[in-house]
Symmetry: C2
Subunit: 286 residues, 2 copies
């Protein structure tokens, strides 16, 4: 790494006097994997991202005009099949958002990961503290939050970012014009209500005060902790598609693509491809 | 490979007499890349897939009730910025679908690719001929096609599968209950109207007879050939998000995720991550 730093100095103006930057680990000229190309570089992902926010806006307009009886928050103890949802009463309307790779693209952090830097919790913590200078708002996100404001629907942010970095996260959302976010008011971070990364306890807390008409996230755990129960990969996919969840996608639960990190990335060949859908390709020997 | 086949025979009933299968190239016990895990194994992708079809159904119901003046087919010669669209007149309503990884998940073929078998055109041709036994309908697709039927909206299939395999493709769509598809009627394949893989000429042909209210695909080329004009990766993403296209995602143009193959998978670090959004991570040296 030292050698690479010195070589870089020949190219960069001000290198001799500026604080020495921690360079991107690009010495090996890595080929970016398809997941990064898709998520951060492609028009296709941009299209999916905007689709989610457009669908949210249309859905929120409809719910603002026709109040639902129930929220889209799965009730405590409910299974996902024939799920029960917390009632709305006459509470004000809200939408619950995840933050990372949902409202915000973490370009600065992910460029280093794409270049081969392995994940470290301590670095992610520095990234949270670094705030909003190397991030961008997700395509469509500002437009959706503006639309919710016009509809008098409150945005709630539920993230597993650290509570100790709450001020930096609030500032980042402000800077991206996605705020205001206020910790313990409409911003709920890791451990704020219960220990652990599950978000159900925070959703239930929010649902005491609001009628949550929609949730938006890039991980199934942004919708219900039931998806993070231990289960085989094919069963989890079936649970997402064929349970009560199946009817909610694009109709109360709005999902953003993320093939780069998270709970979607599990399984080997036998988990991902059903045994009865293998192709023998007899023609290969002709 | 021979050695692997013999070892497999110890495990599989009927191996001695059955036609020798071309095995999955699994001898090296490959780790499946995140793109395959996401697309074919995850509940997250299932959720995105269902979202697209749910959004399509809602949109089609609205357009069946309120006929649009214009189709969503970009007019010949129109740029994507302030795009012009072909008029509907009083033509019957239709929706144009791509097939592969849009209406159909090619599990049998992609299991082999995920296991490391490199792409070959001849194998893909055998796969087209093999038809519908090792594929499944995309989650949500049958439901959407049924809904269109109820609305008297015609599905049109525009695919770059080979015209010489049209009968097998028709049979596959029938078997998956996604048809009926009839070549040169509502099924348009590679080269049917003009040479090359561009789909504009086929869209314009379809728009002579139908008011195309929606298009559905996993590649930006399923919506306009303009996205396949030579241009830098960041410009293509901007074109998808900020041109007239930006307003169509989820509102006439419906996109399915595909981080596994296709036009989304381009670019190196410098194409994908803007230079002004790099993170120096000064804390790494503290």
């Amino acid at each position: 790494m030292r050698r690479f730093l010195i070589a870089t100095c020949l190219l960069l103006a001000g290198c001799a006097t500026a604080p020495e930057p921690a360079p991107l680990p690009l010495a090996a000229a890595p080929r970016v994997t398809s997941a990064y190309q898709f998520e951060f570089g492609s028009g296709e992902a941009g299209a999916l991202q905007m689709s989610a926010f457009h669908a949210l806006i249309a859905y929120a307009k409809d719910k603002a005009a026709h109040r639902p009886e129930n929220s889209v928050v799965v009730a405590p103890g409910s299974p996902m099949v024939n799920a029960k949802f917390l009632p709305c009463g006459d509470k004000p309307l809200a939408v619950a958002f995840d933050i990372d790779e949902t409202l915000v693209l973490n370009l600065g952090f992910e460029a280093r990961a794409a270049a081969g830097e392995p994940y470290e919790q301590a670095r992610w913590d520095r990234w949270e503290k670094a705030g909003g200078s190397d991030v961008v708002a997700m395509p469509g996100a500002q437009h959706a939050l503006d639309a919710l404001k016009d509809l008098k629907i409150t945005p709630i942010f539920i993230s597993n970012r650290s509570a100790s970095n709450a001020a930096a996260t609030e500032a980042m959302l402000d800077k991206l014009e996605l705020g205001p976010a206020k910790h313990f008011d409409n911003l709920w971070l890791l451990g704020d209500v219960a220990p652990g990364s599950g978000k159900d306890a925070r959703r239930w807390k929010v649902a005491q005060r609001y009628c949550v008409i929609a949730m938006v996230g890039d991980q199934l755990g942004d919708f219900s902790d039931r998806f993070n129960d231990p289960m085989p990969v094919p069963q989890r996919r079936q649970l997402a598609v064929h349970s009560s969840a199946g009817g909610l996608w694009g109709k109360g639960w709005f999902v953003l693509p993320n093939p780069v990190y998270g709970t979607a990335l599990k399984g080997g060949i036998d988990d991902i491809f059903p045994a009865d859908k293998r192709w023998n390709d007899a023609g290969a020997r002709q």
